[in-house]
Amino acid sequence: MGEPATKEVLNLEDLQVAGGVSTGRKHVLSILSENKPGVLARIAGLFARRGFNIESLAVGPTDDPSISRFTLTVDGAAHPIDQVTKQLHKLINVIKIRDLEPEATVARELALFKISADDNARAQIMQFTDIFRGKVVDVSKRSVTVEVTGSDDKIEAFEQMVRPFGLIEMVRTGEIAVSRGRGTT
């Protein structure tokens, strides 16, 4: 306990609430877990049970085969994010959770857009694809399929652009992310 307690007055009015506050922004959580059966079900079940909304979820192996990584995005306006992370920490298989700061994070998502396209639409779509640094990955007589990688903002912007042509299908992976710089996420 170190130094002796001071007797100076503490005004109870000055005490501030700790935690439990909504941040009002999107959070990207990077979760390392043991690679054991059922972890995905545990995480998904926890979100459903506590009424937390998962906006997107990506799961995959890491460089260590005994460990998996979940990257999930949650709306911090709807739920106090510390409550979400604390509940996640209670899952025994969850090893580490990082709430990635947007400025210190590189986040990417991959999306596939299948767009209906006649001959003259095709040219325009390919032009947009170029601007967004996307790739045409399949073409048929009446459609093109485009691959776009980037932040979710970029993917949503591309979606806006091509929707008028007739969006047949869109598939998104959900964001994955790493922290910037030398340190591990």
Binding site: K7, L10, L12, G19, R49
Partner: protein, 558 residues
């Protein structure tokens, strides 16, 4: 050796002397190992009974309770006790048999995905996939169940794997990279809490079952006595602070005392220890303790600021934190006179609103008197379990629990039928203690089959039925909030409890006279074997005082 023999070795290594359960196809190998394995198996009559018995065992002793069941229906019968143990943080391990690995996923005979079914209601669960995992899984289960915030852990063992031959070597540590409960408590926060207490003029200590789980009742009392701090406990915390006591406000919450609830309402600082601001405590959240700042001490960080935002959170083990807090507080030598006005107000509430009831004009037994009589007949020192309903609340109000682990009930889940099996488990754990179940007539019938277990396994629990002929608590709500439209709450005249007790081979008695009640109870308690006492009480008595659901402490009625 066979994996199942290793399971028994692991149980013994964990110090387990008793397990509760029922055999079946998928756990036949386990039962073969139990045959001469050196652990006493209490053969229950329903897996739910076995599960609650494991809970009662754990709550009475602080040791991990163990229940076994076969796959499918055996496992699903454990669902209620598992949920109950989760809600009340009871250290328990449930070992279920599962169908053979080649049948899993095929809707095989008696297959049920018990890990899936129980996923939301366990602290952790493990489905065995390789027989060599079994020893470590068992020890892991015990470790997780009993450390941090305790809770239920399920181990599901497929039948073929349990028969496999393995090289058993004692396991001396478990590998859980994601599980390290915080215990010490942050020193700065503890100091801040001491300071806040020293500057509070209207403080209240609000303690819950966590204090009992942490074995910190003595430490709580020392904190309460480090100044004239008023103390209240939740229904789960009763016994954590000795009642009666100068500082004792009584229980708080829906059926708590006015002194406790009004003190919470007017407090400027509430120090919550091992409790979780359940809606039965807070009532209407927006009007709960509107003037208070909160210190929240809990071993589970997720409880902090879950329902009520904390100003001074302290994560850790109450047994370690409370002595530090007391020491820090004493060092501040704050002037106790600042609490004079507060105590005057509290005394005023206490004097004006003691727990009271109107006595009967004839010899009819009032339910409140039944509990007071039981207190006298047991010298106030029995282990008392209860079911769920009015009788539970009256017991909480009128049996002054002076020690921890004397009051065993289902608080979080509110499970009718909890009383008898949990009493059975408590008696097995603490054979030298007097164990009494205060049962509801509606609740007891839900697990009455365990009387057979008590008789055949010679577990001499005493069951005191508060027989009001009703699902009383529901009837009370229908009377008060649903225009007295009594819908499906009358229990009729069945069963004849004395005959039922006798049919099971227990002794049965019926009591109807208030004057001789204490002596009659003493006589029943003095019997050697299990006894069922059918105490006829006023049918339509209401449990007061009461905060109607969703209302504020100020709106207490009765």
């Amino acid at each position: 050796m066979r994996a199942v023999d290793a399971i028994i070795e692991c149980l013994k290594a964990e110090g387990v002397e008793h397990v509760f359960g029922i055999p079946g196809g998928a756990n036949l190998p386990t039962y073969d190992a139990l045959y001469d394995g050196g652990v006493r198996h209490i053969q229950c009559r329903h897996e739910q009974g076995a599960g609650h018995a494991a809970e009662g065992y754990a709550k009475a002793s602080g040791r991990v309770g163990v229940a076994l069941a076969t796959s499918g229906p055996g496992a699903t019968n454990l669902v209620t006790p598992i949920a109950d143990a989760m809600m009340d943080s009871v250290p328990t391990v449930f070992i279920t048999g599962q169908v053979r690995t080649d049948l899993i996923g095929t809707d095989g005979f008696q297959e049920a995905d018990v890990s899936g079914i129980t996923l939301p209601i366990v602290k952790h669960s493990m489905m065995i996939q390789d027989p060599r995992e079994i020893p470590e899984a068992i020890h892991t289960a015990f470790h997780i169940a009993s450390t941090g915030r305790p809770g239920p852990v399920l181990v599901d063992v497929p039948q073929d794997l349990s028969r496999a031959d393995i090289d058993y070597e004692p396991v001396d540590r478990v590998n859980l990279p994601g599980y390290q409960p915080t215990t010490e408590g942050n020193a700065k926060q503890i100091r801040l809490a001491a300071k806040a207490l020293a500057n509070a003029r209207r403080p209240v200590i609000y303690a819950g079952g966590g204090v009992i789980s942490a074995e910190a009742a003595k430490e709580l009392t020392e904190l309460g006595e480090s100044d004239r701090f008023p103390v209240t406990c939740t229904v789960m915390g009763l016994g954590a602070f000795p009642a009666p006591h100068d500082h004792w406000l009584g229980m708080l919450g829906m059926h708590g005392t006015r002194a406790a609830n009004y003190a919470m309402d007017e407090a400027d600082l509430i120090c919550c220890i091992g409790a979780r601001f359940d809606d039965r405590i807070t009532g209407k959240l927006s009007e709960f303790a509107p003037r208070a700042k909160f210190i929240h001490i809990d071993v589970d960080p997720a409880e902090i600021s879950k329902n009520v935002p904390a100003h001074i959170p302290i994560v850790g083990d109450a047994k370690k934190i409370l002595p530090k807090l007391t020491r820090e507080y004493r060092a501040l030598e704050s002037d106790s006179a600042r609490l004079d006005g507060w105590w005057e107000r509290i005394r005023n509430w206490r004097d004006k609103h003691p727990l009271r009831y109107e006595d009967s004009v004839d010899s009819e037994i009032k339910p409140q008197w039944m509990i007071q009589a039981l207190y006298q007949a047991t010298g106030g020192d029995a282990i008392v379990t209860s079911d769920v309903g009015q009788h539970q609340m009256w017991t909480a109000q009128h049996y002054d629990f002076a020690k921890p682990r004397r009051w065993i009930n289902s608080g979080g889940l509110g499970t009718m039928g909890f009383g008898l099996p949990s009493a059975m488990g408590a008696k097995v754990a603490m054979p030298d203690e007097q164990v009494v179940c205060v049962a509801g007539d509606g609740s007891l019938i839900m697990n009455v089959q365990e009387l057979a277990t008590c008789v055949t396994e010679e577990i001499p629990v005493k069951v005191m039925i508060m027989n009001n002929g009703y699902l009383g608590m529901v009837r009370q709500w229908q009377e008060l909030f649903w225009d007295r439209r009594y819908s499906s709450v009358d229990m009729g005249s069945s069963p004849d409890w004395v005959k039922l007790a006798e049919a099971f081979g227990a002794k049965g008695v019926q009591l109807t006279q208030k004057e001789s009640l204490v002596d009659d109870m003493k006589e029943a308690l003095a019997e050697d074997g299990p006894v069922v006492v059918d105490v006829r009480v006023t049918p339509e008595e209401n449990c007061y005082p009461m905060i109607p659901a969703g209302q504020a402490a100020r709106d207490m009625v009765g």
